[in-house]
């Protein structure tokens, strides 16, 4: 059977048992985080006993933001490259990683200015990256390939109210980036960038406090190690969340108006479990074992 005929396996249905198991796993992982949290004090006596637990919760929130935000991004894949489906012509994982890493670098640069400013900067960085990408993609579609933007999933654009059917070519699912997809892309970039930055900041603050005590070095010496360890964990977590969301979407999505968008509750649970697991491992590094 050809790859075209092989429809994606995942339907829109929820699996209530698995969701419940997922939530129980999440609670167990957070519980382990609560147990190990005071042990971090061995290396950094000055911090609060729940410092590591708060970092874990921050990581989970960041991961959920990434997983939820990715659903907004218009992903077209190979059909979009041929002008047969709306969206940006690449895969979910690549777009989510691109937007999130752009935001992460923006937010990391502002890490000194406090949590709120850094997270907002990360969100703006991710949103800006997606806005530029969406605009250039539309330039290429409209002026390079000569196709108008039209959605195949809705009759009228939910924001502008423009009708879509007249502009849609026969035999396609729509093409280009309609306004709603553009807006969705920017929202997705903002959520993804903010989530990535939040993960980075939480882990960075934890490592900054504990690494000097653990490695018996000065805070200035520990700084580059803390930055790179937090950065690598943030990238790893980001990719895990982005790929899990890609599995949830299975292929292409047009944006927030796409019927596949309704699958987001599954991605929230999945991202929360995966982030709790990976975040716990990241915290165990600075726990005496």
């Amino acid at each position: 059977m050809s790859a075209v005929a092989a429809k994606p396996a995942a339907g829109g249905a929820m699996n209530p048992t698995a969701m419940a198991v997922g939530i129980v796993m999440l609670l167990i992982l957070v519980g382990i985080g609560y147990m190990v949290s005071p042990m971090v004090l061995t290396y950094a006596p000055a911090i609060s006993p729940t410092f590591a637990l708060m970092a874990l919760l921050g990581v989970i929130i960041g991961g959920v933001l990434i997983g939820f935000g990715t659903h907004f991004v218009p992903v077209g894949g190979a059909p979009a490259a041929m002008g047969q489906a709306p969206g940006i012509a690449t895969g979910v994982a690549m777009l989510a990683a691109g937007a999130g890493l752009a935001g992460l670098f923006g937010g990391a640069w502002a890490a000194e200015l406090g949590m709120v400013i850094a997270v907002v900067t990360g969100g703006v960085g991710g949103g800006l990256m997606m806005a530029i990408t969406c605009m250039m993609v539309n330039f290429v579609y409209v002026f390079g390939m000569g196709i108008p933007s039209a959605s195949g999933k809705v009759a009228n654009d939910p924001i502008t109210g423009d009708s879509q059917a007249e502009y849609k070519s026969q035999g396609t699912e729509g093409h280009g980036l309609p306004f709603i997809s553009f807006v969705g892309g920017v929202i997705g970039g903002i959520l993804g960038g903010a989530g990535g930055t939040l993960i980075y900041l939480e882990l960075l603050s934890l490592y900054e406090e504990t690494l000097p005590g653990m490695m018996q070095i000065t805070p200035a010496q520990a700084m580059p190690i803390a930055v790179s360890a937090a950065g690598m964990f943030a990238v790893g977590l980001f990719l895990v969340n982005a790929v899990l969301t890609a599995y949830n979407i299975t292929g292409t999505i047009e944006g927030p108006h796409d019927p596949k968008f309704k699958r987001w509750p599954r991605a929230i649970v999945a991202s929360a479990v995966a982030s709790a697991l990976c975040g716990l491992v990241a915290i165990l590094i600075v726990v005496p074992l």
Partner: protein, 281 residues
């Protein structure tokens, strides 16, 4: 249920590749421990060989997973392999000599949970999913550890975070010149690209197992060349030179073999030279 797009016809069964890849990766990683026993850094190149073995195994795992239409593209598999692998690997480095085994166990746990999450919570329902994600987390963790051993001669947390710069014969401790700060991100992407490329490049009706695995070995050695060049900054020049020479020899051999296999599988080929020979003028 999903439809399996391609089946493996002939060739080595996946379980044999799994066993061979796992054993040779672990053995190669532990051979770098000769560095400690003999107080040299000459055996760092075994880390690179561990990377090659892990990547060959991992590329076949990606083939098994992506034979089902997962609809997300082959590169995403490489990304989740190293994304979950780096997390297991960094924690495992704390356990000193046990690090490779701990990385294996941790990656299995992370991979199993991620596999359950994607197969059941996200409702993928792909039979190979749990095993494939588990294997890929292990491959990611062990190949990053291989890169660490290749670049620093060690796979412990201290070895990864301590660097030393030798200035005019004086050894200075310098944490900024360490694998963790400079090398990890590069190793991450070197591995993630090398693991997803072979199947992405050879998939289709003309897929042949030996050709894909040879391409995987070629990508592994090519990554090892880059990592060996970077290792000049972290280990002694002689040891880095040994790694580099082995990497270049391995790359040249596998590249030549891959070209032959490609010509074997091609319907026809023309040796179009970059600059045509002009005759008779």
């Amino acid at each position: 249920m999903s439809v399996k797009v391609e089946v493996i016809e002939g060739g080595v069964p996946h379980n044999n590749i799994l066993a061979a890849g796992l054993v040779s990766t672990l053995v190669c990683l532990y051979l770098t421990y000769l560095n400690v026993l003999t107080s040299t850094q000459m055996f760092s190149f075994f880390g690179g060989l561990a990377v090659v073995a892990a990547l060959v195994w991992g590329s076949h795992t990606i083939k098994v997973l992506c034979s089902y239409g997962i609809g997300t593209g082959v590169p995403s598999a490489g990304m989740i392999a190293f994304g979950s692998g780096v997390i297991a690997m960094l924690l495992a480095t704390k356990f000193g000599m046990l690090a490779p085994v701990v990385a294996l166990v941790l990656a299995v746990v992370i991979g199993l949970i991620l596999g359950y999450v994607s197969n059941n919570i996200l409702n993928m329902k792909i039979p190979a999913m749990v095993q494939a994600l588990t294997e890929m987390a292990v491959v990611g963790a062990l190949s990053l550890m291989g890169f660490a051993a290749l670049m620093t001669g060690s796979f412990t947390f201290a070895g990864l975070t301590n660097g030393s710069t030798s200035v005019m014969g004086m050894i200075l401790a310098n944490h900024e010149m360490s694998f963790m700060v400079g090398g990890l991100a590069v190793a991450f992407l070197l591995g993630a690209l090398a693991i997803q490329h072979p199947f992405n490049a050879t998939l289709g009706p003309g897929w042949k197992q030996d050709r894909m695995l040879m391409l995987a070995a070629e990508c592994g050695f090519l990554s090892m060349v880059v990592a060996a060049i970077m290792s000049f900054a972290l280990i002694s020049t002689g040891s880095a030179l040994i790694s580099l020479i082995i990497a270049i020899i391995g790359w040249a051999y596998t590249y030549q073999q891959y070209m032959e296999l490609s010509k074997r599988d091609a319907a026809a080929w023309l040796n179009a030279k970059p600059i045509p020979d002009v005759e008779g003028h």
